[in-house]
Structures are given as C-alpha cells and as structure tokens.
C-alpha cells in the first residue's frame, strides 16, 4: 500500500537573535551641522522661556502708563513730529517735553494699530522672554548647568516681578540692559562689540531714558577692571597699559557718544538726570525707598543675604565690577524701589554663577563640568517648542488666525472702560479732575480734547498743580476750594481708593453723581464754571 506521508512541516529553526524592537536608534547618524546641534538642556530652557513668554503674553495691559505712551505715540504719528512741550495735559502746557521713549511709543502705537492688543502683549512678552533667555544663556555658558540657569531666570523674575508686571517703555530699557550685561559678561571678547554696543545705546536712548544705567554698567566694568589690575599688579602703569581696560573705557565713550543720536541730542542727558530730582515723584510709591517688609523687599533682602554668603564661599574669582554694580544698584534700590529692576538681572546672574561654583565646590567637583553631548534633535525640539509657544500665544493666534482678544479681557480690571465710554457719549465741559492712575487711559480712549488733570507723567505736572491734585485726592484742608479754583466741572474717580472723596461730594449740593459702574464714578457740577 502506497500512502502519502504528510510530512509535518518542520518546525522553524530557533533563532538566536533578539526579537525585533524597532530600528536601532544608536545607528542613526546626526547629519545636522555641528554648529547647530544643541544640548538637551536647551530644550528644557526653551520650554521654561516659552512658559514665561506665554505667561507674560496673557498679562492684561495695566491701566496706567501704557495708554499714555500709546496716546503720545498716536500724537507723534499723526503730527509726524515730536512735541517740544507737553501736549496733552492742559495744566502742563509749556512744560518742556524731552520724550526719551518716543521710539517705544511709536512702535507701541503702530503695533496697536496693525495687530492690536495682542501685538502689545506679544512685544512685552518678547522683551521679557529675551531678558530671561539671555540670563539663562549666559549662566549656562558659565556653568553648563541647566538648573542654575533656571535659577538665574527665576531669581530675576521673582525680584523684579512687580516692575515687570506693567507694560511700558521701561521694559525696552530692561531688555537693552540685559543685552548689555550679556555682552559684557561674555568670557570671550568680540570684535562685534565695537559696533553692537554703540548701536544698542543709540537705540536705547530713543526707546527709554534708562540708558544712564547702561552707561553705569559699562563704567563699573571699566572701573572694576582697573581695580582688579591694580590689586593684582600694584602698579599704576599696569592699569594704564591694560588693554582690556582701555577697551572697556573706549566702549564707554562710544556708548556715551551713541546716546547723542536722538532727536534731542545732548538734551537727552539733561532730561534723564533731571527726572529723578522732580519733587512730584516723591508721592509715587514706586519712587519710595524699598521697604523690606513687602514681598519684593523680602526677596531683595534674601538675595542680598544669599549673595553675601556665596561671595564668601565661591571658588570663582570675584571681579570688582560685580561688587561695584551690586552695591551701587542695591543702594539705589534702597533709595528708590524702582531701581530694583536694574539690580535684579545683575544679582540673578551672579547668584546663579557663584551659586553653581559654590555647589560644585561643596560636591568636590571640578568648577566647570564637561560639555554635554549635543544633538540636532534637541535643536529641532527647541525650534518646535518656540513655534508651539508662539502659535498658542495671543500674538500667534492673531497673526495666524486673525483673531483678536477682547479688550475687556486684555486689560486690567481697574481700567476705566465704562467711564471712558460714558465720557465719549457725554463729553465733559471744561476742566476734569481724574484719578491719577486713569489719566493715561482717559487720554487714550476718552473724548478728543478732554482736559485731564494729570496723567502718569507726574514729572511733567507743574508742582502747584500736583499739590492741588494731592490736596483734592486726599481731602486735605482747602480741597473744596481747590476744585473751584481750578474750575473743575467733572470729577472721574475710582471708588476703590477714593471712597472718602466720593462720600464728601455726595454731601455737597453743587455736585451730582452722574455715572457709576464697576467702581468708576463720575460727578458733574450742576452749574458749570
């Protein structure tokens, strides 16, 4: 009998190779040019900066300065010239007006016109993000440590938070200051500094009047170099011959000359020097001495203490410029809390750098760790993150999708939207008395030609007018007469801080409460003067 033998298929031979788990990444070759490869930490820092950018983008426009600056920007663009005297406060007519922030105002106004509020928020966020990015970059370059780079960013933001929360031309000044700090703290000297630093100052002198702090920083670097060389060599000749000192000195001179490239020429110096001496500013809290009881003051004090400890421990050489700038800017902050925003980036950078060095010393590690591995993928991740953060920001949404955020959601809750709308519908006759903080917004959004009493440019308000403002606002003796003396027919004030004044006006027969909404109150005189 012939049968078919069905042969069972032979079992497959058992493979000795491991199971397939996808392609072997280690065999991939990075073809990105070496120059654009980045370490992993870059992606982390970009993520952090991106978060900061988004947070700042979402910040509402404050109800003060920014609107006044936009109004000035509008005036400059419409008139195609810079006003020589104060143009919007009728009680300040004739006061010489050196507008060192004119370029910021024009940029802000044009941005508002073309892109809207999202554009302003985006500009502000970009400036702030640039500051933290530069601080992080410099710290990383010095330490090769992402965490301490993050410390520099966080330290700067925490200490300067209050000043950074308000969108105004000062942010442009801060960005210029941090850029300068970035260049001056580079371990290598760059030929491009001969061009970049003067150009920076040329722009700075037109963006904001804080260029003097930049000159101070340059000066302290030069003076610090002289001290360092002097201490090291004990020789005056060595100081004079030191080429780095000469370089710093020349950069200072060129920067000082570059400042003259502005519509006011040397007058910009006069204006910048005079402003701090204006007696009106003594009534503004941000010009008051820094109080250590407040949160900002506590952080300020904590950073000072930390720096003091770190300078004792750090194995890094302590340069004289560090001490000069920390002490002088710190002392200025004690005299005027506004200066904290200039002290903060210097302190944050040095805190991180010396903090890292002290930590490495404590861990008995070499001061500078080995350079981390770099890969093109991290560059791609970083670029991708940048795009994502931009795309999801109000600016990105506006640019890509054409959608603008609503005004009510984009401004601080203290912005007198309702009062401005009411006054546009029922324009006031004659002189208006307004809350100081609202003067800018009323100037921007109120009816054309409205005679505001004061705006945030307190240094431009005549002393007697400012005193009258304080007298009325604080219900000082003679306040009622002051209202009559200035011929005030309309009073626009906030209930939150002016409740006593509102109560008094209600008691006076010649005043009528004409409008109230969201804490915004308008009184009108029954028989106008």
């Amino acid at each position: 009998m012939i049968g078919t033998v069905i042969e069972e298929p032979m079992a497959e031979a058992v493979s000795e190779e491991p199971p397939f788990r996808g392609p072997d990444i280690s065999k991939l070759q990075d073809h990105t040019p070496a120059a654009v490869r980045a370490p992993r930490v870059l992606a982390g820092l970009v993520f952090a900066v991106g978060i900061i950018y988004l947070v700042f983008c979402m910040r509402p426009l404050w109800h003060t300065d920014v609107w006044g600056h936009l109004a000035y920007g509008r005036l400059i663009c419409e008139g195609k010239s810079l006003p020589a005297t104060e143009p919007v406060m009728p009680l300040a007519t004739g006061i010489a007006f050196v507008d060192t922030a004119w370029l910021s105002q024009v940029i802000g106004y044009l941005t508002m016109q073309t892109i809207g509020i999202a554009g302003l928020q985006g500009l502000f966020a970009l400036a702030s993000a640039t500051c933290v990015a530069l601080l992080a970059a410099r710290t990383y370059q010095r330490t090769r440590n992402g965490w301490f780079s993050l410390l520099a960013m966080v330290g700067f933001l925490a200490v300067a938070a209050e000043s950074l929360s308000i969108i105004r031309p000062q942010v442009a000044g801060i960005a210029c200051f941090v850029m300068l700090l970035f260049r001056l703290t580079s371990p290598r000297l760059h030929r491009s500094d001969w061009v970049l630093i003067p150009v920076l100052f040329g722009l700075w002198a037109n963006l904001h009047g804080s260029f003097l702090t930049g000159l101070f920083l340059l000066g302290s670097v030069a003076a610090g170099r002289a001290i360092d060389v002097g201490l090291r060599t004990g020789s005056w000749q060595a100081i004079i011959r030191d080429h780095r000192l000469r370089r710093n000195f020349l950069l200072l001179e060129l920067a000082a000359a570059a400042v003259l490239v502005n519509p006011y020429g040397i007058g910009a110096y006069g204006a910048a020097l005079q402003i701090a001496a204006n007696p009106n500013l003594s009534d503004l809290t941000e010009w008051h001495p820094q109080v250590l009881r407040e949160v900002t003051g506590i952080l300020f004090g904590a950073v000072i203490v930390a720096l003091a400890v770190l300078y004792r421990w750090t194995p890094r050489r302590v340069r004289a410029w560090e001490v000069i700038s920390l002490v002088v800017l710190g002392w200025s902050t004690f005299n005027s809390s506004r200066m904290i925003v200039w002290w903060a980036p210097v302190a944050a950078l040095l805190l991180a750098v010396h903090g890292h060095a002290s930590w490495r010393r404590w861990r008995r590690l070499p001061l500078i760790p080995e350079a981390p591995a770099r890969a093109g993928k991290w560059t791609v991740v970083a670029v991708g993150l940048i795009w994502i953060f931009f795309a999801y920001s109000p600016l990105g949404i506006r640019v890509i999708h054409g959608k603008s955020p609503k005004l009510e959601r984009s401004v601080s809750s203290d912005t007198p939207l309702a009062a401005a709308k009411y006054l546009r519908e029922k324009p006031p006759v004659g002189q208006v008395f307004n809350t100081f903080e609202w003067g800018d917004y009323l100037q921007w959004a109120g009816p054309a030609g409205m005679k505001i009493f004061v705006n945030s440019h307190a240094h431009l308000v005549p002393r007697e007018v400012w005193q009258a403002y304080m007298q009325i606002s604080d219900l000082q003796s003679g306040w009622e007469e002051a209202i009559d003396r200035y011929g005030i027919n309309t009073i626009v004030i906030d209930r939150e801080h002016r409740e006593p004044l509102i109560k008094k006006l209600k008691e006076i027969d010649k005043w009528k409460l004409d409008f109230e909404q969201d804490g915004q109150v308008v009184f009108i005189r029954k028989k106008p003067i």
């Binding site: 000082a256 040397i266 002393r463 011929g487």
Partner: protein
C-alpha cells in the same frame, strides 16, 4: 584671556569721534538745553534772559471822557482824599505801591507832607530809604539774587503784600527800564534786573498772577512767549487762560483784579497781537459773562457787593459786607470798565449809579478812614480819573494850579491810624494768598 591690543591711532580716533560728537551736540543744542546741562554739572543756575524792546513801559490809555460819570469837582474831591500822605516811620510798601500806581512818577503836590511821585519811587527802589523807615530789624524789601533782584512779598511786616505788585505798580507809573535799584548789597541793579527775575521766577499756577500778567505785558509785548527758570515756556495765551481759570470769586479783591489784568492784556493785544484769536475770543466771552453777572447784582444805591460773582444770588441773598469790601468791588469794576470796550459795559445808568456811590462814599470818609483803607480808595481815584480820560497826577496838578485854595494842605493822619489796618488787609488777602 589675552585681550587684543588697541593701537594708539585707534584710541585717538575714538577720542576724536567722542569729543566731536559731544561738542557738536552741545553746540547744536538750544540755549536752554546748554544751560540746563551746565547747571546739572554744578555750573551757574539756569537764567534765561528776555529781550525787553523798550525803555519805558507801554501805557493803556483810557477810552472815555464822561463828565456825567464824574465831574471835575467830584474828581478833585476824591483825589484830594487819596493824596499819599503817609507817616514816614514804617511806611508800608503796599501803600506806596498803590499810591505810585495812582499818581505816577511825575506827581507833585502843594502840600509838602504829601509824598511826590519821585519820593514814592525812591522809597521802593532804594534800600537806604526803606532802611530809614523800617530799620534793620526787618528783612529788606529788595533782595539780591544770583541773576537779578527779587522783592520780598507776603504778609510779613515791611513786605510788598502781593507777588509782583511792586513791579506792576512801578510799571504802570511809567518807571524807566534802567532806573537804578539800590539793593542792600549792590548799587548796580536796575528795574530790568527785577523784571528779568520776575519773568524767570514766575509760576503760572501760583495763587496770584494778576500783577505779573500786567507787568509782563506792558514791558515785553509784542513778544508773546518767554521761558522760566524751570524751563517752562509761557505765553500770554496761558496767562489769559490762567486769569480766567476757576470760579470768578477767586483772585485778590474779590476777583476784580483779574478782570483788570484781562482787559489790559486785551488792550495790548489790540496793538501788539499778543493773544491768539481763540484766546481773545475766550477773554471776550469771559468778560461778557462778568458784565452779565454784575448787571443783575447791583444794589439800589449803586454799589456791588464782594460776592458779585454769585450774580443775582448776591442780590437775592445779600451777605454782611463791610464797607471797604463794597468799595473794592465797585471801584474795581468801574476801573476795568474805564479801559474796556463799550460792549463789555453794564448799562449807562448802572455806571452812573456806581460812580455816584463811590464818589459819595469816598468823600464822606474821614482822612483817617482813608488812611486805614488807602489801597482800596486809591483804585476809586484811579477809576474815576480814567472815566475822564485822564490820570490823577495830570488832573490834580492842573487842578492845583487852577484852584490853589481848594488844594491847600490838610492835617496828616496820625501814625496809629495807619498801623491799625494790618488785619483787614491781610484778611482780604488771606483766602487767595494761602
């Protein structure tokens, strides 16, 4: 790291660039910019100088010669009452200023106890004369400043009561620009030094600007603007707006001096174009509203009350007004109307009633009453003279010559009577001067 060498040529090139930039920018800057920078650097204080185009000040001539408002005899009777017959001990600058403003420099009187125009001027411009009257226990009236001369003013004894009243009165009296002013420390100053100091020291928002406005207009027109020490550019437009600002009750002498100053600016504008058309129209509107207010609040006897600015309410709810305040209001309203266009007058009947009242009230006063309230009655005399298109000195000297018996000397008031009026004058000043 070794830094690259900087060549000597490069170093010098940078110095050249920087020096040229700074020098060029400084030279291209305005005078004010340069002076501000120099003063910031510890140099001399910023002291802008205003060009004064004349040696003697402008004069606002009266417009009307109306014997029905005041006859020759009535005018003479009033002027006789307000001859500057002052005790020389602790002679009040405010009195002298008012007298000089009324009588002018060339006034001469038959009575040797009456100070001539020249004597009045010398008291104000010569510290020695002031010292002889007040002694050295009081601060001087004339004060040396780094760039000029300032006048001590305020409520203290021996001071000029109102800001720039000294300057305005001498100006209205016709003083020369280079008339010497002898201060405690210098004999080289002149009226121009006082004027310049006033111009640069002036603050638009100070309490009293009435006299500054007049003095500046009468000296510097047709120049419309000037710069103060604070760097503020001021104009007559701003001055006019400042004079019109606020309730009409404000300002010295129940707000009536502001009106006179406004009319002076308007008259200056007629010849020298110191106001813009818009401001001119605002001034006219303001004065029309004043006319309308006083038209409805004149009392039956012809006077206006100190609260004339309330309009009809001042008549409906009269206040207890002291006589001198009624004289202030009535005399001042007559004074500004005498130099104002007819469109701004109240009715003729009201003018005649007002004039009758001030003439009667003034001539009824005793000499010691006049001495106590001299400054207010001096305005009455000036106002009435203006309504005869003349000036007190011109009229009186002619009257003296033609009526020697009627112009004969009378007994001077006692010193105590003059001393007693510090409180009322200060009270009148107080609400506006604080």
């Amino acid at each position: 790291m070794k830094s690259p060498r900087i060549a000597k040529e490069q170093f010098l090139l940078v110095q050249l660039i920087v020096v040229m930039a700074i020098v060029g920018s400084f030279a291209a800057g305005s005078i004010e910019t340069r002076q501000v920078l120099l003063s910031e650097a510890g140099g001399p204080r910023f002291a802008p100088v205003v060009n004064v185009p004349r040696e003697t000040p402008l004069v606002i001539e009266p417009l009307y010669d109306d014997p029905e408002v005041v006859s020759d005899a009535e005018l003479a009777a009033v002027l006789a009452k307000i001859q500057p017959r002052f005790p020389l001990k602790k002679l009040k600058p405010n009195y002298v200023e008012h007298a000089l403003r009324t009588w002018w420099l060339h006034a001469k009187f038959a009575d040797p106890k009456v100070m001539s125009g020249e004597a009045l001027k010398e008291f104000l411009t010569d510290h020695g004369r002031y010292l002889a009257s007040w002694g050295d226990e009081f601060a001087p009236l004339l004060q040396d400043e780094s760039g000029g001369v300032s006048i001590r003013w305020g409520k203290e004894e021996g001071a000029s009561v109102h800001h720039d009243h000294w300057l305005a009165c001498l100006t209205e009296a016709g003083v020369r620009l280079h008339e010497p002013v002898f201060t405690p420390n210098s004999r080289t100053h002149d009226i121009n030094d006082v004027l310049q100091e006033s111009l640069r020291d002036f603050k638009l928002d100070e309490t009293e600007v009435e006299w500054s406005a007049m003095a500046f207009g009468l000296w510097i027109a047709p120049q419309k603007t000037w710069t103060t020490r604070q760097g503020r550019t001021l104009s007559f437009d701003q001055l006019a707006d400042r004079l019109m600002r606020g309730h009409k009750r404000f300002g010295v002498c129940s707000g009536t001096h502001r009106l006179y100053s406004l009319i002076v600016l308007m008259r200056l504008d007629d010849d020298h174009d110191i106001l813009s058309d818009e401001t001119r129209e605002r001034v006219m509107d303001h004065m029309r509203s004043v006319r309308d207010l006083i038209a409805v609040c004149q009392f039956e006897d012809g006077h206006w009350a100190s609260n004339w600015s309330e309009g009809a309410d001042s008549l409906a709810k009269p206040i207890e007004d002291e006589l001198y305040k009624q004289v202030i209001a009535t005399g001042h309203h007559l004074e500004w109307m005498a130099i104002a266009p007819q469109e701004l007058h109240v009715s003729r009947e009201q003018i005649l009633k007002a004039a009758d009242w001030v003439i009667k009230t003034t001539t009824e006063q005793t000499d010691s009453d006049i001495a106590t309230r001299y400054t207010f009655f001096s305005h009455v005399g000036n106002a009435l003279a203006l309504w005869r298109k003349t000036h007190p000195a011109d009229f009186w000297m002619k009257w003296q010559a033609e009526h020697p018996e009627e112009a004969k000397p009378v007994e001077a008031p006692k010193a105590d009577a003059v001393k007693a009026d510090v409180a009322p004058e200060a009270k009148d000043v107080a609400p506006e001067s604080k």
